[in-house]
Every structure is written in C-alpha cells, then in structure tokens.
Symmetry: C2
Subunit: 96 residues, 2 copies
C-alpha cells in the first residue's frame, strides 16, 4: 500500500537538525523522497508499523509532527506534480 509521509521537525537547535536528518534517513529506508519533507512509501502493513514506530521514537512530539496519508491502490492517478525534480514512480521501469 502507498503511504505518504509528511513531517515537520523543529530545527532551531543542533539537536533538532540531527533529528531531521534521522527522520529523513529513516523514511529513505522505506520509500522515495518526493519533496524535502514528503516521502512516498510503498509498504506492507508490517513495514508501515515498523516505519511509524521508528519515526515516533525519533521525533520530539511537543514540537515535531508526522502525518501519514494512506493513498490506496489507485494512488498514481491521484497525484500531480508541477515544477522542479519531478519524481519517477517507484515501480516504473528505469530505462538506462
């Protein structure tokens, strides 16, 4: 299933900046970055539970936030991109 992960991390101090890097790195392990703090993660329910657990442990809940949007199966027809860094959907053939 495709889950869109969006997050805000307070980066006013060094600790927050490191948190931001770890959150991004964790999302990278499960999916594809489509914007600075937006990832598309095509995961099983088990993988999603693990991703959510890891992210929840990383953030500071009083200042940071995570949002998960379950886009369903037909998601590719539900997203439109305008501007820089258009994204190649994960399971489209990468023609080299």
């Amino acid at each position: 299933m495709m889950v869109l992960v969006t997050y805000d991390v307070a980066t006013s101090d060094r600790v927050g900046q490191r948190r931001l890097q770890k959150v991004a790195k964790t999302c990278q392990n499960f999916g594809q970055r489509v914007q600075n703090s937006v990832f598309e993660c095509d995961v099983s329910m088990e993988q999603f539970v693990r991703l959510k657990g890891e992210l929840t442990d990383l953030i500071e809940p009083s200042t940071d936030s995570l949002r998960f949007y379950f886009l369903g199966n037909n998601w590719k027809h539900r997203v439109e991109h305008i501007g820089a860094k258009p994204v190649t959907p994960i399971d489209d053939p990468l023609i080299l």
Copy 2:
C-alpha cells in the same frame, strides 16, 4: 473533494522567501495548513483549477515544486497524525 497540497520553495534568497510566503498565503485562501508546507484543501474542481493556476504562476518551476494529492471522499479515515499541532478536520464542529 479533498486535495492535499505539498510544496517546496527554494528560499536561498529574499525573492524565494517572499515566494514561499505567497504560496502559503494562497493555500490558506483555499484550505487548512496542517504542516509547514502541507495544506488540506476541500475544494470544488473549479476552485482547484483556480488554486493550481495561482500557485503555478507563483512558483519558480526550475527550483520549486508543487504536488497535489487527490485524497478522495473517504479521506478522513486515511490520515493519521502524531506529535505537535494536531489538526481539527475542517468540517468537524468547533465547540467553543
């Protein structure tokens, strides 16, 4: 229909910072901010076309990007929030 708007705007210069403010302000006219650069906009098709047009005119396509996710009708059961600033869905009664 509920449209999730996410954006990245390059803010390395003053012009970019102003662009970012205008993009946010435009999204504010059509929906609710749920994270720094994430808005939920419950709009008609006609309103969406206007929103998209205004945002497309504002961004610098070589450095900025816009993503629109069409969440469909059953969207409230498709989103999960963890951490700071939980969001009151737009049409939930605001009990004062």
